[in-house]
Every structure is written in C-alpha cells, then in structure tokens.
C-alpha cells in the first residue's frame, strides 16, 4: 500500500525524523488558511500529492508545467496551488492518462539551497528488503536529488549499502557507517546518525515495504531534513496497523482493481485486447506471455486464486467487460483439486448473466476435465474449447485478429 508524501512526513515526524514544516489541504478555500500556519518568509514549496514519482518534471494535461513549484511569495503559492488542484498531472511514472491532483501540500522553503561552504547539499537514503540476503538494507548516496538508477549505473561507487541483521536490529556503528560514508562530521554527523536510526525504527515498526528519502537535504543553517518522502507498506502486515490502513487513498487506486479485490480476484489492467482469467499467479503471468507469443496482446492480469466459483467468474467477466479495448477472452484453469465440471457450469452461468458476446476460448485441465468439456459443448453457447495452453492461445488470437 502506498501513501502520499504529506502522510509519510507526518509519520516521519511522529518517529522523530526531521522534515520541513507543512500543511496539506484538499480544497482551494483552505489555501489561505494553510499558508498562515507555516513560515512563508523564505518562500513556499507547493507540492501536488499523487502516488507517483517524477512530479517536479511532470506536466499537467492543460499544459501547466511542474507538479512541484518553489513559490517566493504567498500570492505566487496561491496561484500555483490553484493551477494544480483538480488538474491532471502526467509524469514518467503515471502513464499517459496521468493522475488527478486532489491534495496540495504547502511546505516551508526557508533556508533551502546551497550550504555556505558551497558543498553539494542533497543526499539519498532508502531502506528496503534485500531479497538476496533476506535482510533489510539501508542504501545511501551522496548523489541525492537525481534518479538513483542513474547513479547506480554511472557511479556505483557513490552508493553505500548497510545490511541489518534482523536478530539484533540496526546497530549504532552501522548508523555511524552511513553518516561517515556520506561525508558528515560534527553536528551534522550526529543529526545523520539520529535520522538514520529513527528512520529504520519507523521502517521496522510499521512493516514498511520501502522508505525512500530523495533528497535528504542540509539547509543553510546546517539542519538535516527529509525534503521528500516515499513510503510503501507490506500489504500482508496491514492487519496489525489500522492507523496505516486509515491513510489509504482510494482515489489513487484503479477502480477495477478495488472491485476485483472484493471478490478475491487479483487484477491488473494492461493495454492489449485479449482479456484472460486464470487460476494462480504464475499461470496467469504465463498466460499473458503465451498470448503475446502467438501474436496477440494481453488486456490484463487476472488471478482468481485457488478456486473459480460462479460468483468469482461472473465478477471477473464484468470487470473484464468494463474495459472497452477487450475484443476476446481466454479462460485458462488448471483445476487440480477443483472439479472442472463445476468450473464449467460457473463459466456458463457467468456468460449468461453478463450476456457475453465476445469470442470466448476456454482451456480446462485437471480433475474431471472430460465432464467439464462436455458441459461446455452441450451449453449451446459459442464457447471454443482449447486443448492446451498453446492451442487455446492460438485460437483466441485468431478469433480476435480476424474480426
């Protein structure tokens, strides 16, 4: 689960991680009031709140440039905020459709900028799971404020990693290693050790999937601040964090994915025109692959999980049919334990209930498969049977491409 920057910073503050002071609002009527709550003498950062990165370099669909703007005055901040709120921001991570901005975050911009000694003042810090070692890893770099992939590719020596032993947690010497690796000394060194320690505590206590601060910034006055914050949580652990669940913003999620989750379906929309309905994530992924292999284009990933009940198949068909690009459907079920005849009956009922008119290819395999195929054949519906995944994929591709 993802949250907004302003929510992440509120959590950071609760854990003692230093952030710039800010106020988030959802309507233009609240703008002026919000600006009275922060110190605006050094200018204001006006930040669009969407669940995607690349906001600063993004462009709104009406042509307004920049989802994050430095505003030297209150008047300019109001102007920028009005241009952003309700507008749709397209960034490198949103796709062409972009995301509608429904919250504006004003933060104090005083004292930002180069340090008096002229040294680069932006750093990078992230905490996430390292799958190779099954341990949390802290990633730090002196090259903040830019894309970390770029740094990793061109100057990998500027990325430092510290693995945390989950049996004992983050140790003081490890926090010092990070602070030394970033070149800090004196008071900034102490601030960095504190910030890393508290950020790790937040990551661990709240079951985060990832915490990323880019940039971590040193102000003109020598304060270390998390200027941006990206936080995502482990969905499996949400049951023990009701406070985190309360931060969920359904506006940022795909309506069809939310609907699918109500029926125990895992659905992700893609750009193609052949929808698929499969049991099991691995089989679902490889069903998409085989559609493409035979010259088609998958419209979605859809995993019905271990079973495939009539209600689930009906709900899945409705979700699939909500995508206007879909020109055909491939159902691929390996009914290992489940009775294929029961699945076949469910498919027929779902076709009738949804009034499905599109080409439908069904590949059933497993327990009682002959009875299932006979049921489909006797239904009087134009359901094409596939004998193997390859056969089924070729049939649906042919049916869709020849239309």
């Amino acid at each position: 689960m993802n949250i907004h920057e302003y929510q992440a910073k509120e959590l950071f503050a609760q854990f003692g991680v230093a952030v710039p002071k800010g106020v988030a609002v959802k309507s233009a009527a609240e703008f002026e009031g919000a600006l009275t709550k922060i110190d605006t003498t050094g200018g204001i950062m006006v930040k669009s709140q969407i669940h995607a990165g690349g906001r600063g370099k993004g462009t709104f669909t009406d042509g307004f440039k920049g989802g994050v703007k430095f505003s030297p005055t209150k008047e300019k901040a109001l102007e920028n905020a009005k241009a952003m709120l309700g507008n749709t921001l397209v960034t490198a991570q949103t796709g062409e459709v972009g995301r509608k901005v429904q919250t504006i975050y004003f933060t104090e911009a005083a004292n930002l900028g180069k340090r008096p000694d002229g040294r680069d003042d932006e750093y990078y810090l992230a905490i996430l799971l390292d799958r190779a070692t099954s341990c949390p890893v802290i990633v730090a770099s002196t090259e903040g404020g830019m894309e970390i992939e770029h740094v990793a590719h061109h100057t990998p020596e500027k990325i430092f990693k510290v693995h945390v032993d989950p049996a004992v947690g983050l140790q003081a010497f490890q926090a010092r290693q990070i602070a030394f690796s970033l070149g800090f000394s004196g008071d900034l060194f102490k601030q960095c050790v504190t910030l890393v320690t508290k950020l790790y505590q937040f990551y661990w206590d709240k079951d985060c999937a990832m915490v990323e601060v880019n940039p971590l910034l040193v102000t003109k006055e020598g304060k270390l601040l998390a200027l941006d914050a990206k936080v995502s949580f482990d969905d499996n652990a949400l049951f023990r964090h009701p406070d985190v669940v309360a931060l969920r913003d359904l506006n940022e999620e795909d309506a069809k994915e939310i609907e699918a989750s109500k029926f125990g379906l895992s659905y992700i929309a893609l750009d193609g025109n052949i929808a698929c309905l499969v049991n099991g994530a691995g089989l679902a992924m490889s069903t998409m692959d085989i559609i493409q292999h035979f010259g088609g284009s998958p419209a979605n990933f859809l995993d019905v999980g271990g079973g495939a009940t009539k209600d689930q198949v009906t709900a899945a068909f409705k979700i699939i049919l909500g995508d206007a690009n879909v020109k055909g459907i491939l159902v691929n079920i390996f009914g290992g334990i489940m009775d294929c005849n029961v699945i076949a009956t469910g498919i027929i009922e779902a076709v009738k209930e949804t009034g499905l008119k599109l080409p439908l290819v069904v590949r059933l395999e497993g327990n009682n498969v002959e009875a299932g195929k006979a049921t489909l054949a006797a239904s009087g519906l134009t359901i094409v049977s596939g004998d193997s995944m390859a056969d089924a994929a070729q049939k649906i591709v042919k049916l869709v491409n020849n239309k």
Partner: protein, 301 residues
C-alpha cells in the same frame, strides 16, 4: 530415492482443524500419505477422523513429533500466526517445515529466516503448493503429498521439478505425465520474496540424488534466485535441465520509488533471465505449453 520426503515420511499438519488444513489433510490421507498427527493449540487430545483413519491432535509440535515420530510439518496456519508455527518446527528439530500459508508479513519471514540459521530444520515456502514424491500405485497413490498439489497428476519416475508457482508446477507435471515421463520429487518453493529454500538448494539436492535423471526449473521475474541456480548448473550440474521463466509481459515498475531497481540489479527481467538460462546450457521453453518438450529435446528418458 527421492529428495526431502519419501513414501513413508511421517507428516504432522499444523492447522488441521481449520477448513483449509482439514481439506488437504483428507486429500493427503486419500493419496496414501502418512499423516500421523495434527497440531492445534488448545485442541490437544481430540482426534481428526477421515475414511476410517484416526489422526491424534496435539497442543504442540514437539509433543506431536515425540508421540508419533512425525519428522515433517505441513503448515496451514493463518498468516498472523504462521511465522510462530514455523519457529515452533525449528524448536522441535523437525527435518522439514512446509509453509503453505499465503500472506505472511515480510517482517515475520525475515525474522523466521534469521532464526533458521544454525538449526537443523529446513523450511520450504511460504506461499507455496508444497511438495510431492509420487507413489507407485494407481495415479501415483501411495506417495508423500505435503501441501495442496493435486496428487493424481503425478507419476513416479526420473524427473525432478522445482518451481515458485503452484499451478505452473501442475502444468509441467501434467505435461510430463501425459508424455509418459514420471517425477522423482516435485517441489514448490513459493512465490514470496523471503523463502526458506531456493531454486539452487533444490537443484543441488536433485543433482546429488541418483533417482532424477533430468530437471525442470520454473521461475518468474524478480529477484536473482533463478540466475544464481543457472550459473551453478553450468558449473556443476551433471544432469540435463529445462527451464521456463514467467512474466515476459508483466508490467514493469508498479512501485512508487526506485530503490528496488538498485538492489534487484539488471538481471531480474524475464528477458535477462532467459538469456542467462540459454548461456548456461538450460533448454528454455518458449511457452508454458512447451515445458516438458523443452526437456525432451535434450533428454530422451
């Protein structure tokens, strides 16, 4: 021989009184597997009955193992309590804990995996279909079925199968069985980012076991476990290996930040993994329908 479990391996089921655990305990008994104990805290002394068989239920794993000689646990405990169930197996010094449960918090698994270091218990899973050593009876009955795989699709023979995905494993097994090629052991290692046993761990076991003559390895995008196994196969494996990687069309980067790319490196896409498989002499299946045939192109059985 087989790896990890044999036909006579004695199995205990943690969560045998839940719907999911009970259902699959019954299917394992029907298959002829030696389910000898159940564990549900607070229900010790009760009996799980199925088709004339009586399986005693115990309060703790240690007690169940001591009383029945069970050496392997199948874990069907709900996610909030599953890591605790895994740790209880380590404490009881079982040979093997197979965690079927889907949805265990990553943090719990990070701790459990750390606690596994230095213990004698091997963990398979979580979020996995379990493992099957097929029997020699009708439709492979009489084998050892731990988890949720359909037993009847198997056939005893000389191919070892290892996979992250459940239904994709069944697909490969069924393709082999339909072509008359049996399996020595089929292991589903699970799809979670933190799991107990890797592709490489299982490949090494297959390599050392005289029964399998050939191996099918099924992987997915993400992580570097398949790449690690492929490189080891090139250097050390004595047996022909066929492979498949799912996820060539999966949408990239549905995450907010980018730090995963730094950690995962450039080798976790399907295209990169397939290229490395080919370089390592693995016969790559172009589609999931081609998994058994990809093996039969390099191994005549």
């Amino acid at each position: 021989m087989s790896i990890l479990v044999k036909e006579d391996t004695r199995i205990l089921v943690q969560g045998i009184t839940g719907d999911f655990g009970a259902r699959h305990a019954r299917l394992s008994l029907d298959y002829g597997s030696q389910v000898v104990a159940g564990v549900t805290p607070g229900k010790g002394g009760q009996v799980f009955e199925h088709a004339g068989k009586k399986v005693p239920i115990f309060n703790t794993v240690a007690e169940a193992a001591k009383q029945t000689g069970a050496t392997v646990s199948a874990i069907f405990v709900p996610p909030p309590f599953a890591a605790d169930a895994i740790l209880e197996c380590f404490d009881a010094d079982l040979d093997l804990a197979v965690a079927i449960t889907e949805g265990i918090p990553v943090r719990d698994m990070v701790r459990a995996k750390r606690a596994m270091a230095g213990r004698r218990t091997r963990l398979i899973g979580p979020n996995c279909p379990g493992l099957v050593t097929p029997g020699r009876g009708d439709k492979s009955s009489g084998g050892c079925r731990i988890g949720i795989a359909p037993g009847y699709i198997h056939k005893r023979g000389n191919v070892g199968v290892v996979s992250r995905s459940g239904t994709l494993t069944y697909e490969a097994v069924w393709q082999l069985t339909c072509r008359g090629k049996g399996q020595s052991t089929c292991v589903g290692i699970g799809g979670d980012p933190v799991n107990g046993t890797s592709h490489l761990d299982v490949i090494k076991l297959f390599n050392d076991d005289p029964e399998p003559e050939a191996i099918i390895m099924i992987g997915e995008i993400g992580g570097n476990a398949e790449v690690e196994a492929a490189r080891w196969i090139k250097a050390h494996c004595k047996k022909p290996v066929a492979g498949f990687i799912a996820g060539a069309t999966a949408p990239a980067g549905r995450r907010m930040g980018h730090a995963g790319a730094v950690i995962g490196g450039a080798e976790d896409t399907a295209a990169a993994k397939i290229k490395i498989f080919e370089e390592c002499g693995i016969s790559v299946a172009a589609t999931p329908s081609d998994m058994a045939d990809a093996l039969l192109r390099i191994w005549k059985g």
